[in-house]
C-alpha cells in the first residue's frame, strides 16, 4: 500500500458490495414480488437487473429486496418502490429492459416512470 488513494480505491469498490449489509431506515427500498406467480412471470431477471443497475450507478441509498405475493398476480412481475416521506409507487409487468429507466428516472431523478405504474395499466 503506497498511498491513501490506493486504499480509498479498494474501499470504494468494496463499499458497493457490502452496502447490502448496511441498509438503514432512510434508504429507498425497491421490493420485487418473488412468489410463485412473480417468479413464473419473470421476476428473477428483474430483481437481478435492479441489483446490477443500482450497483453500477453506486447508489448507496437504495436497498433492493424481495417479498412474497402482493395479490395482483395478473400484473406480475410487480415492483414496489418505497421512499421515506413519499407515497409508494407500484410498477407492474416489469422486465429487465425497463429497469434502467426506473433506476435512472425514479431512483436517481426522483420522478416515477408513470407509464410503467399500475395506474397507467388500469386506465
Amino acid at each position: 500500500m503506497k498511498s491513501l488513494e490506493e486504499l480509498a480505491a479498494i474501499r470504494d469498490k468494496m463499499k458497493n458490495i457490502v452496502n447490502t449489509r448496511e441498509a438503514d431506515e432512510g434508504n429507498i427500498r425497491v421490493v420485487v414480488g418473488m412468489a410463485t406467480c412473480g417468479i413464473a412471470a419473470g421476476a428473477r431477471p428483474v430483481l437481478n437487473a435492479f441489483t446490477e443497475e443500482v450497483a453500477r450507478r453506486e447508489l448507496g441509498n437504495v436497498t433492493v429486496t424481495q417479498t412474497g405475493c402482493i395479490g395482483i398476480c395478473q400484473y406480475e412481475p410487480v415492483v414496489e418502490v418505497y421512499q421515506p416521506g413519499k407515497e409508494k409507487v407500484t410498477y407492474v409487468k416489469m422486465t429487465a429492459e425497463k429497469v434502467a429507466r426506473v433506476v435512472g428516472e425514479h431512483l436517481v431523478g426522483g420522478k416515477p416512470v408513470d407509464e410503467y405504474t399500475i395506474g397507467a395499466f388500469q386506465k
Partner: protein, 597 residues
C-alpha cells in the same frame, strides 16, 4: 453482483454448535436452486448472542435466524432467498412482533442498549477478507496517523480520549505509550498484544480476533508509529485455534497489501507482526511473564520496576496492550478523542465488552457504554435469570475480582466504582449467580483455579494460596471454626501485599469479597454446619418425611449406595453414614417426601 448476503456466524460458540455444516448446507442448497450468482454466503464473526447459536443473518432484510439446524437450511433458501418470505418460526423471537411484523435487531432488548465499538465489525464482515475490512474504513486510521499526524499527536489523541486498558488494571493507554515514546528511532522497541485471555468465563478477546483480526494489526501499527517500534508480537493462546488461523490469514493479507512491511503508505514507517502461541499458562497473561515467554523462556513474572515501557521484551522499551484495548484505537484516531471521551463516565471512557455467563438467559457478548448499571446488563440485555430464580450476585474480574451482591445491582459499572465495592473490571467476564449458588463454594472454585495456575516463583502465592484454599475446604467440609475467618482475612492480606505479580496480588479477592458481602453464609457453614444454597455436599443431609413417604421403594431401588432401607408401604429411612448425597432419591420421589438441608 450479489443481491443477498447470508452471514453465518463462525465464532467458536456457533462453530461448536455446527455452523460450518450449516454454511456448507447453504452453499449446497443455494446452488441447487440456481441462486449461486445472486446470493453470497459469508463466514463472519460473533454476533454476541451465543446462547441462541448457530446464528445466521440474511441481508438486505437483516433477518436474524437463531438456533438454525442443517435441516432448516433448505426451507430458508426456498422460502426466503428464492421467494422473499422470511421463515418466521426460525427468526429470533424478539424480532417478531405480535401479528408477525418484523422488528429490527437494534430494537430488541439484547441489542437496544448496546453500543458496539470494539465489536463493530464482528458479525458484519468476513474476517478472512481484508477488502471487507477496508470497506468498513479499515486501515484508514493508520493512513491518517502516518500521513497527517506526528507520533506525539497520536499519543496526545490517545491521552485525550481517556482510553484505559481493557485487560484488567485499567491503566491509561495514552500514558503507557507516552512512557515508551522517548528516544524514537535510536533504540529497538516492541509493540505487543496480550491475547492470552485466561479468565474463566471471558471470551471477548477471542471474539475480536475471530471476527475482526485486522483491527488488532492496524492498532498495533498505529501504536508502533507512536512510540517508534518496528516489530510487534501477538501472544495468543494455542487453545484459540480459530483465532490463530484468522490472525495468520490477516497477517498474510496485510503483508501482501504492504500494510505490514516496509515503507507503509509510502512513508518511512516500517512495521511487521509475528504470532507467538501461548501454551495455556494463566500467569502468561501477566505482562512480564508474557514477555519472558515470548523470549522463549519459562513464563514467569519478574518484579516491576523496571516497567516494560523502560525495559521490556529483550530488555527493550515495549508496550503491551490487550486485544479489546487495541480494537478501540483505530476508531479513536478516525473519529477523534472527543468522540470517544463523550461516552462513558468521568474517569472511564468509551464502552466495555462483557462476557455474560452463568445463570442468565442470554449468554453471550455485550458491549455497553461505561456507566451502564449491572441491573441493565442482567435484567434487560441479559434477559434475567432463568426458572424464576432470584439474582444473588455477579462475579466480575474472574479469579482476580470479586462479587457484586444484589443490594449493589444499581451500581454504574466503571473501573473506579468496581474497585470501590471490592471487585474489579478485569477483562470483562461477568458471571451471574442465583440463589442456588453457594458463595463459599464460588470463592473455593476461583481459588482452586489460582492454586493450579500459580507459577510457583514466589512463596506468598505458591504456598499462601494453597493454605487459603485449605482453610476454605475446612469450612465447606464442616470443620470450620469462627477463628478461621480471621485467619483467612489475615492470610489474604498477606498474600495480596507480598506476591510478586498480579496473579498472587489479586488471588484472594474472590474470598475477601464473598466474606465482605456474604459473611452470614460463611457463619452458617461454620456455626450451623449448613450450606444455605444446598451446594456443599459435606453439609447436606437428605431425609425422608415418614408422613409423606408411601413406601413405594423407588428411592431404595435408585440409590447407588444402598443407603435406603424400608419395607413396602412403610416409610423408608436413609442411613446417613452410607449416603453419598447424589440426590438421585429426591429426584425420583413422586410424593415429595425427600428433602435436603
Amino acid at each position: 453482483m450479489y443481491r443477498s448476503h447470508v452471514m453465518v456466524c463462525g465464532g467458536t460458540g456457533c462453530t461448536s454448535s455446527g455452523s460450518t455444516k450449516i454454511m456448507e448446507a447453504f452453499e449446497h442448497e443455494i446452488a441447487a436452486e440456481g441462486l449461486e450468482n445472486e446470493v453470497k454466503v459469508i463466514h463472519t464473526g460473533c454476533f454476541g448472542l451465543c446462547a441462541l447459536g448457530p446464528i445466521v443473518v440474511v441481508y438486505p432484510e437483516g433477518s436474524f435466524y437463531s438456533r438454525v439446524n442443517v435441516e432448516d437450511v433448505g426451507e430458508i433458501v426456498r422460502e426466503h432467498l428464492l421467494k422473499g418470505r422470511p421463515v418466521t418460526r426460525l427468526l429470533y423471537d424478539e424480532t417478531v412482533k405480535e401479528g408477525g411484523e418484523i422488528r429490527s435487531l437494534s430494537e430488541t432488548q439484547f441489542y437496544k442498549k448496546q453500543h458496539r465499538i470494539a465489536l463493530r465489525n464482528c458479525g458484519v464482515i468476513n474476517p478472512e477478507n481484508i477488502d471487507e475490512y477496508i470497506a468498513f474504513d479499515g486501515y484508514r486510521a493508520l493512513g491518517k496517523a502516518l500521513t497527517e499526524m506526528t507520533p506525539d499527536e497520536v499519543i496526545q489523541t490517545m491521552l485525550d480520549s481517556g482510553l484505559r486498558g481493557r485487560g484488567g488494571a485499567g491503566f491509561p493507554t495514552g500514558l503507557k505509550w507516552k512512557f515508551a515514546s522517548g528516544n524514537r528511532g535510536n533504540v529497538q522497541k516492541y509493540v505487543c498484544c496480550n491475547a492470552d485471555e485466561g479468565d474463566p468465563g471471558a471470551f471477548m478477546d477471542r471474539s475480536v480476533l475471530e471476527g475482526d483480526p485486522h483491527v488488532v494489526l492496524e492498532a498495533m501499527a498505529i501504536a508502533a508509529y507512536a512510540i517508534g517500534a518496528t516489530q510487534g508480537y501477538i501472544y495468543v493462546r494455542a487453545e484459540y485455534p480459530i483465532a490463530v488461523k484468522r490472525l495468520k490469514v490477516a497477517i498474510g493479507q496485510a503483508r501482501e497489501y504492504g500494510l505490514l512491511g516496509n515503507n507503509i503508505f509510502g512513508t518511512d514507517f516500517c512495521f511487521d507482526v509475528d504470532l507467538k502461541l501461548g501454551a495455556g499458562a494463566f500467569v502468561c497473561g501477566e505482562e512480564t511473564a508474557l514477555m519472558t515467554s515470548i523470549e522463549g523462556k519459562r513464563g514467569e513474572p519478574r518484579p516491576r520496576p523496571p516497567f516494560p515501557a523502560v525495559k521490556g521484551l529483550f530488555a527493550s522499551p515495549t508496550i503491551l496492550n490487550n486485544v479489546e484495548t487495541y480494537a478501540n484505537v483505530p476508531r479513536i484516531i478516525l473519529n477523534g478523542a472527543e468522540w470517544f471521551a463523550s461516552m462513558g463516565t468521568e474517569k472511564s471512557k468509551g464502552t466495555k465488552v462483557f462476557a455474560l455467563g452463568g445463570k442468565i438467559h442470554n449468554t453471550g457478548l455485550v458491549e455497553v457504554p461505561m456507566g451502564t448499571t449491572l441491573r441493565e446488563i442482567v435484567e434487560e440485555i441479559g434477559g434475567g435469570i432463568p426458572n424464576g430464580k432470584k439474582f444473588k450476585a455477579a462475579q466480575t474480574g474472574g479469579p482476580s475480582g470479586g462479587c457484586i451482591p444484589a443490594e449493589l445491582i444499581d451500581t454504574p459499572i466503571d473501573y473506579d466504582n468496581l474497585l470501590a465495592i471490592g471487585t474489579m473490571m478485569g477483562s470483562g467476564g461477568l458471571i451471574v449467580m442465583d440463589e442456588d449458588t453457594c458463595m463459599v463454594d464460588i470463592a473455593k472454585f476461583f481459588l482452586e483455579f489460582t492454586v493450579d495456575e500459580s507459577c510457583g516463583k514466589c512463596t506468598p502465592c505458591r504456598v499462601g494460596t494453597k493454605r487459603l484454599l485449605e482453610l476454605l475446604e475446612k469450612i465447606t467440609d464442616g470443620r470450620g471454626e469462627m477463628e478461621d475467618l480471621d485467619r483467612i482475612e489475615e492470610l489474604a492480606q498477606f498474600i495480596k501485599a507480598n506476591s510478586l505479580c498480579g496473579l498472587g496480588q489479586t488471588a484472594p479477592n474472590p474470598v475477601l469479597a464473598t466474606i465482605r458481602y456474604f459473611r452470614d453464609e460463611y457463619i452458617a457453614h461454620i456455626v450451623d454446619k449448613k450450606c444455605p444454597a444446598g451446594v456443599c455436599k459435606s453439609l447436606l443431609q437428605y431425609t425422608i418425611d415418614p408422613v409423606k413417604c408411601r413406601g413405594c421403594t423407588l428411592c431404595a431401588r435408585v440409590c447407588p449406595a444402598g443407603a435406603i432401607t424400608g419395607t413396602v408401604k412403610n416409610p423408608h429411612v436413609i442411613d446417613q453414614s452410607k449416603c453419598i448425597k447424589c440426590g438421585a432419591c429426591m429426584e425420583k420421589c413422586k410424593f415429595g417426601a425427600i428433602s435436603k438441608g
